[in-house]
Symmetry: C3
């Protein structure tokens, strides 16, 4: 397998992402490069971590996942590669890899210091092109991770906002708003194995009555909570944007109550 | 050929499209995946059908075209695969495939019901990842369409707004506004084989004088109608957006008159 | 190598770019197609030239670079292919290739006139699909450039705004604003080999004090000038958009002074 994925905050306007791909293909012409997204909000490490965490496990074993949300580029922050049971991960050691890594069995963490696997000239502002892309390409060609630099004991972990559970109430929050205006919460779907009419969901003081299996289970324009495809409860509005209609924001508190 | 195309309303912000590609590559590492567009307006089945209809025939024989504009995801709506003389098509049976299929010789239509060709866990909100991508990948590997599920006699067809023709007047409408602000009408180019000064084009009460071969045939800022690359008459403004300058909207009436 | 890059002003909304890729794959199923960007502002040949000029050299030898920013499509403007020591370039002869070509040793320039290498039907509005894509695909299959049409002596060159240097002052301008709001100037990085506190940078009358190696070398919210990854001095604001904070525009004058 020669798959490399890219998750960045580089946007679509500039030549940055294309240039990274050119570097990869110069080292491994057989690489298949997949964009996860380049629309992570500028410098938003946490959202980058979420995007990678929600998608990495759908790729074939051996895939090299590269995440570059890197406001500290050029500074003393460390860059790392991580080998897990199933994948490789490459990026700055600022937490952007941590939600994905939390679900994987870690086999090795190495700092990226061996300049042999970088471009010859390394800028201080575009390590995506000069360090992360060539390192990822070399990994797909079978370079052992230990050759990239000295081992590290760990990596920076972002705080995961675990839901707070009491007897009859589980309190969570909105962790992501998607393109459709659906709001992904931090309440895992498995809390809902006993989905039934005895549960209700509230956002602030507003009660959302329905937890259903799919969007169209409620009339158009009505809110609904569904077990989401990322593994977490999602709040949606059938045929509309829940973010707009319900004025949801990142961090909005969501409460699930057993009546 | 192992080409799969994707036409969706998923946008660029999230990890959805990338995840679909991961699923495809896990089943067929040799697949070449091409984005047609992911910027179909949310739930706009008709625009999805137009985009696919305007592009599918430029792909090599055997290409598997996947279209996911699917507001009914998770509900009882059917999912289908269609084999035509030249291509395969995969998507919800809501009409999104129908404009493309109208130009093809249909050989088989099958419902997607054989879970062997789905991901192991199927969500109720992301069939693009869990059903359509794996099915498309299996088709590129040579799985016969009949193995995907029971045959269907037909598929949902969207209404195509045919132009109304009388002796000296052809009345059509604007069916698409592109990135440049060019307005694509439903008036086929072949109506223009006898393009000459004796014809004029009107939008509402406003007469557009010129039907020309290309945009720069009129001065900058001036409107022009040209035979478009999608097979239909397009209304443009040289070096500007016709949509803005002429305040064009989807459904605006366009009248072609032989003087 | 079978790499083709695409740089256009086609945007992401429509089926245009996907269709070009379909045409390429129909001619060369082994081609690897990389998007540099499709978000060049409509008809902005100069920005297209900049994007290609900043990225082309990071691709493997033999790559075919296609640039389609082509307001004159369908008119009498010439279309060309250029072979250099390392690459091929394909596009309209309107200057969009010229910044890249300025850095390459030219071996041949040919007009695209041999219809054998076009699609059978050529529209007057979408040469990206009908001419440039098929020609590029044929080049990756080894068709010699001389077969594409008659040789040309030169190609259209855009004016490059060279900085004006006097004894203690170098005056340049802003030539590009990127997705992050960083402003790329026309002042080459090598002017900064002697970067030190004795130099200051001014935009209009406002003095930017710091020329540093990376963004985080100044506090958050503060402006900084750094040697940029495209080879030119960049003006940034740590953790913010320099374009917004400093109200920078294309063409804004930038003055570097040795105190």
């Amino acid at each position: 397998v020669h798959v490399i994925t890219l998750t960045t905050d580089f946007g679509a306007q500039d030549w940055f992402v294309g240039t990274m791909k050119g570097v990869v293909l110069g080292i491994n012409p057989c690489a298949t490069i997949v964009d996860i997204t380049h629309e992570i909000p500028t410098g938003d490490i946490r959202t980058g971590a979420l995007a990678l965490g929600a998608s990495f496990r759908f790729f074939p074993k051996g895939t090299v996942h590269v995440a570059v949300v890197d406001p500290g580029v050029g500074s003393a922050r460390t860059a790392i590669a991580v080998q897990t049971k199933n994948y490789f991960f490459v990026g700055p050691d600022n937490g952007v890899l941590s939600f994905a890594l939390a679900g994987e069995k870690i086999k090795a963490v190495h700092r990226l210091e061996n300049k042999k696997f970088f471009l010859k000239e390394v800028s201080h502002t575009f390590h995506g092109r000069d360090i992360f892309s060539p390192v990822a390409a070399h990994l797909t060609r079978g370079v052992p991770i230990r050759k990239l630099g000295p081992p590290e004991k760990g990596y920076v972990k972002l705080h995961w906002p675990a839901p707070k559970q009491t007897d009859r109430v589980i309190q969570g929050e909105i962790i992501y708003l998607d393109h459709f205006g659906n709001a992904i919460t931090n309440l895992p779907n498995h809390l809902l194995t006993r989905v039934d009419a005895t549960r209700s969901l509230s956002i602030g003081r507003k009660t959302l009555c329905s937890i259903k299996a799919f969007y169209q289970a409620v009339p158009k324009g009505k809110p609904v909570a569904v077990p989401g495809s990322a593994g977490f409860l999602e709040i949606a509005v059938n045929d509309d944007s829940a973010a707009k209609v319900l004025r949801l924001k990142l961090g909005s508190v969501v409460t699930m109550t057993v009546r």
